[in-house]
């Protein structure tokens, strides 16, 4: 069973890297650009037939290591 995890900075945390990407996109002439936020993406494969159980495991992984909940949010999806 495969899951995707997206880790992004919380809304009110400054994202200087995203800001630089945004400015560069603007320099490239990409108009109507409101904001760019940079994040991290993981694909996690788990040996399991129980989706609920497996998703719980991935959730635990996010809390313990993949995301720092002080500044980051995460989303888990089955893929």
């Amino acid at each position: 069973m495969k899951f995707s995890v997206t880790v992004t900075l919380k809304k009110d945390v400054l994202d200087p890297q995203g800001k630089v990407v945004q400015n560069t996109l603007l320099n490239l002439g990409m108009n109507n650009l409101n904001s760019v936020r940079q994040g991290k993406y993981f694909e996690i494969e788990i040996d399991s037939n129980d989706e609920i159980e497996a998703k719980k495991k991935v959730d635990d992984m996010c809390k313990k290591l993949l995301a720092n909940l002080i500044i980051e949010d995460y989303k888990v999806n089955k893929i």
Partner: protein, 225 residues
């Protein structure tokens, strides 16, 4: 005084800190991160560097390493813990210190000597300094921008847990004297029991007048009973 310096793959200030400790007559041991036991220590140091190549987040992987469980146990028993630079980042990732070190505001790696002010000298780490003393200490980091939530910031202020703040050579603490964007110019903090100090500046680089200055010496001499 017995000290242990924890060495991770990618640590690069471990021998500097060992030299500083030995200069002040600490009996120091180097402890590899895969060890599961700590030698008897009055002080444990998490040194600077780029543990695990800063993979995931600075300090995140080291913060879950085998030896860290022992460091957490020792810390909870009151052992003195000093985290410098990457060591500070590791301490926040373990939860021994609250807050986090974000990417520098200007997105650049900063390596230069900066001024810091001793905000609280009533601790085992800073008692040989004078309150408000201005030190010149080297910083060398990419993620030194201290950030925390408003409750923790209140706690830091009300309980006097801010150890050092960035300032200019006259002691002014403002945006111009803030090298990395840290919240309220914070350069180092204690936990609530003040047995743990995390700081971004490198006192171990300031122990010899021939290569820098000796502003870091009193941090180590403060620790000696």
């Amino acid at each position: 005084m017995n000290s242990s310096v924890i060495v991770f793959p990618g640590s690069n200030c471990d021998r500097d800190i060992a030299l500083a400790l030995e200069k002040l007559q600490f009996k120091n041991r180097m402890v590899w991160h895969k060890e599961s036991e700590l030698p008897k220590s009055d002080l444990i140091v998490l040194p600077g560097g780029f543990s695990y190549g800063d993979y995931l987040r600075s300090g995140a992987i080291a913060g879950k390493s085998l030896i860290i469980n022992e460091v957490i146990k020792a810390a909870n028993k009151g052992c003195l813990i000093l985290g410098i630079c990457n060591g500070f980042q590791i301490l926040t990732e373990t939860g021994l210190l609250k807050g986090i070190l974000l990417r520098n505001k200007n997105l650049r790696f900063i390596n230069r000597d900066v001024n810091i002010k001793v905000i609280n000298n009533d601790s085992k780490f800073s008692n040989k300094y004078k309150k408000n003393q201005i030190l010149k200490i080297n910083i060398a980091h990419n993620e030194g921008n201290f950030f925390t939530n408003s409750d923790h910031l209140k706690e830091l202020k009300n309980e006097n847990l801010i150890a050092f703040k960035y300032c200019d050579s006259s002691g002014n603490i403002n945006e111009n004297s803030n090298p990395n964007g840290s919240l309220e110019n914070i350069a180092g903090i204690f936990n609530s029991k003040k047995n743990i100090l995390g700081m971004m500046p490198h006192p171990e680089r300031m122990i010899d007048n021939q290569i820098s200055n000796i502003d870091g010496v009193n941090l180590f001499s403060s620790l000696i009973k």
